[in-house]
């Protein structure tokens, strides 16, 4: 397969050097100071799934670079009438898209697009597979807080099975030798998750995950994707909910991250959500410069 240059389909096959280059470039991006790197370009945002953060973040990023954006959502478009993914792709290409940003409930949908279209395709989240821009903004956030990936330990707690964020994060951190501990019940964190990348291990015990950890990444239990799986939420809360007492088990300067949306009282308490160690809103803020870098890279303007 030969996706157009500048496509971002996933982190798994991206090289560490390329990731660092992108993160470095993102530091130079300032959403408050328009830089017309993408002046006159058209960025098509094709959203087959609900999104608040990712969509608005990509939109602001594109506009900050001087691009036009068009948002197409499955609701209220031809997609609703049964148009196929590829036909929608051909249509938006014909309309004049220079970059296609796609969010889709099926894993691999951006690959199908990239295989047939000659414009860069940016994966904004595909099913349970990957969410590369989220991993990049998380890496950006970690670097702002920890300076280097060297010697870091990251604990990802929660619904790993249904999380594209977790998959992308594992691939990314693994490339920099970060120790990654996945924590949760077997239904949400199957043993096979440890095969995702080198340096990844699975634990069922929150203490085990937190001890010596620099970054605590929390994930929502994705009830809409459980597909018949029975999860006892009370049990989950009792064993895995992040609260101040538990957070004390991590390193003193540990930061708490969460890709959102957060559910207070489920995967974390309000004290954690609003606590001093939390970087949840900083992640959202960092999403814009990171996505500016992603879009600039797509157009070969990452210089």
């Amino acid at each position: 397969m030969n996706p157009a240059r500048g496509s971002l389909l996933g982190i798994e096959h991206m090289e560490a050097a390329e990731i660092l280059r992108l993160l470095k470039f993102a530091r130079r991006m300032n959403p408050d100071k328009t830089r017309p790197l993408l002046k006159g370009k058209r960025v098509l945002l094709l959203f087959y799934e609900a999104s608040t953060r990712t969509r608005s973040s990509f939109e602001i990023a594109a506009k900050s670079l001087g691009a036009h954006t068009v948002l197409i959502q499955s609701f209220g478009s031809s997609i609703e009438k049964g148009e196929s993914l590829l036909d929608t792709g051909y249509t938006v290409r014909a309309v004049g898209a220079d970059i296609i940003v796609i969010r889709h409930p099926n894993a691999g949908a951006p690959y199908v697009m990239a295989q047939h279209l000659d414009v860069p395709v940016i994966n904004a989240g595909d099913g349970l597979h990957e969410h590369p821009s989220q991993a990049l903004l998380d890496a950006y956030t970690v670097l702002r807080n920890k300076k280097t990936f060297k010697g870091l330990q990251v604990a990802i707690v929660g619904d790993i099975f249904h999380s594209r964020v977790a998959r992308s994060a594992c691939h990314l951190f693994s490339k920099f030798g970060v120790k990654i501990i996945l924590c949760g019940p077997p239904e949400l964190v199957p043993d096979v998750a440890a095969t995702l990348a080198s340096g990844v291990r699975v634990t069922r015990h929150i203490e085990d995950a937190l001890r010596g950890t620099d970054v605590v990444m929390l994930l929502r239990v994705q009830q809409e994707r459980l597909s018949g799986m029975k999860i006892d939420l009370a049990e989950y809360i009792a064993r895995y909910q992040m609260n101040p007492l538990r957070l004390k088990m991590a390193k003193k300067d540990a930061i708490v991250m969460h890709p959102g949306p957060i559910i207070r009282g489920l995967e974390l308490t309000s004290e954690i959500a609003d606590g001093a160690q939390t970087r949840i809103l900083e992640e959202v803020r960092n999403g814009v410069p990171t996505r500016m870098a992603i879009l600039a890279r797509a157009m070969g303007k990452m210089r």
């Binding site: 196929s84 889709h104 894993a107 691999g108 047939h116 099913g127 349970l128 597979h129």
Partner: protein, 435 residues
């Protein structure tokens, strides 16, 4: 079932090396075909007298016509994927002289009328088509079809293929009734309660790709139940379609050891590829059962070598491009397979795994003929139907899906360099394909 018009002529296949496992022949032999039957098999140059036509088989293997127990020819109802004419043309290229069509068409073949429709000459079959009829009405799994009537109309087995017969009671009933008629019940073994929304094998790869996986247990649990039933019910005949897991294989081995009448087939893709081979969400690697783990593949290879596997069947499942070029999870299950089956068997099983050619020929001929009681087929002893496949086991070639005779091009083997090629296919004494 549909016998292509008998040829009132004679054909001498001369100079070849005959492999006829049912007759325990593996030697240079000439074969004389006359009036649609095998008239004589004799050492080189011993057959005298005038013949209408000769086929030079020097340097080639002459084998009984290949039998494919499992094809989807999509007629009636889905002629945009395949027709009986195009499907049988692809079969001829692959050396298959008989094919058994699955009943999951639109409508489902669950009646005598449906079977009669398949046999009409208007369908344009160039090889012999045997109908496998639905086991339950509309393949809905609730009420058995009229086995007796279907049997008399020429159906050679029953199945709800594409779907399993899940209900214990219905499966038991099917095996009891099938046993009375000596009618094989073919099971698509998949506990669909465990495979909802799944599109590939459950393993490290499916986790990595974010695709929900079908566990080996979803196949093995149904096979285990069915083998247990077959061991309990006198005369029951159970045939497991496209077996793909090591665990299911264990159940079948146990059943065979207990002398239950259990047979099974494996597909070329399941002995060639694993779940790790799929790249970039290419839906030409999506089929049901899915490509399994490396250890499942090893178990299947061992069973092919040690004689446990009864037949190689293709599960030829054509789909139009627009049904495949889409989100992996939404794309149709299935790949074509008729034109690559022998070459994959020779390349993978014979050349790489050193399984003797005679065993491979058995898996395409005597083996499948036994599974469905196809009398007069699967062997070239005198009096048999004059179905012959002639192939070159050493010929290297590259498969080009675009040139396939099938209406559909959904195959993961496009561009593969393979060894072993069909040179001529003879049905009822008539050459229907020659390379």
């Amino acid at each position: 079932m549909k016998n292509p018009e008998k040829n009132r002529t004679s054909l001498l296949i001369k100079g070849g090396h005959l492999i006829d496992p049912a007759a325990r022949t593996d030697a240079p032999m000439d074969v004389l075909l006359k009036d649609g039957r095998i008239a004589e098999v004799a050492p080189p140059n011993k057959i005298k007298g005038a013949v209408d036509e000769k086929l030079d088989a020097r340097g080639l293997i002459v084998a009984p016509g290949f039998i494919d127990l499992h094809v989807h020819f999509r007629e009636p109802g889905q002629a945009h994927k395949e027709t009986i004419a195009t499907g049988t043309a692809a079969a001829a290229v692959g050396g298959f002289t008989s094919v058994c069509t699955m009943p999951n068409t639109v409508p489902v073949i669950d009646s005598v009328e449906g079977i009669e429709w398949l046999r009409q000459p208007e369908r344009g079959a160039v090889v012999t088509v045997f109908a496998v009829a639905a086991a339950t009405r509309g393949s809905k799994g609730a009420t058995l079809t009229d086995f007796r009537a279907l049997h008399s109309a020429g159906a050679i087995a029953v199945t709800d293929d594409g779907k399993p017969i899940l209900d214990d009671g219905i499966m038991r009933e099917a095996l009891v009734l099938g046993g009375e008629l000596n009618f094989p019940v073919v099971q698509h073994a998949e506990d669909t309660r465990m495979t909802e929304n799944c599109s590939m094998h459950a393993g490290a790869r499916s986790f990595r790709l974010g695709l929900r996986g079908m566990t080996a247990a979803a196949e093995a649990s149904i096979v285990e139940r069915d083998v247990q039933l077959a061991m309990q019910i006198p005369n029951a005949r159970l045939h497991i379609a496209h077996l793909s897991t090591a665990d299911a294989l264990k159940s079948v081995r146990r059943g065979k050891r207990a002398k239950a009448r259990v047979t099974f087939e494996v597909t070329p893709h399941h002995f060639t590829l694993t779940d790790e081979d799929m790249r970039d969400y290419d839906s030409n690697y999506k089929m049901n059962p899915p490509l399994r783990s490396a250890s499942d593949l090893e178990a299947i290879l061992a069973a092919l070598a040690d004689g446990t596997v009864d037949a190689i069947a293709t599960d030829h499942a054509p789909h139009a491009a627009h049904e495949k070029e889409m989100e992996f999870e939404r794309a149709a299950f299935g790949i074509t397979g008729l034109e690559t089956a022998l070459a994959l068997a020779i390349t993978r099983l014979h050349r790489e795994k050193r399984i003797p050619l005679a065993r491979i020929v058995e898996l395409f001929t005597a083996g499948p003929a036994r599974c469905f009681d196809l009398r007069g087929r699967g062997s070239l002893v005198r009096g048999s139907v004059a179905d012959v496949t002639v192939f070159d086991p050493k010929k290297k070639w590259t498969f080009d899906a675009a040139k396939s005779r099938s209406k559909s091009k959904n195959t993961p083997f496009d561009g593969w360099q393979l060894t072993g090629k069909v040179i001529a296919t003879v049905v009822g004494g008539k050459i229907v394909y020659s390379a």
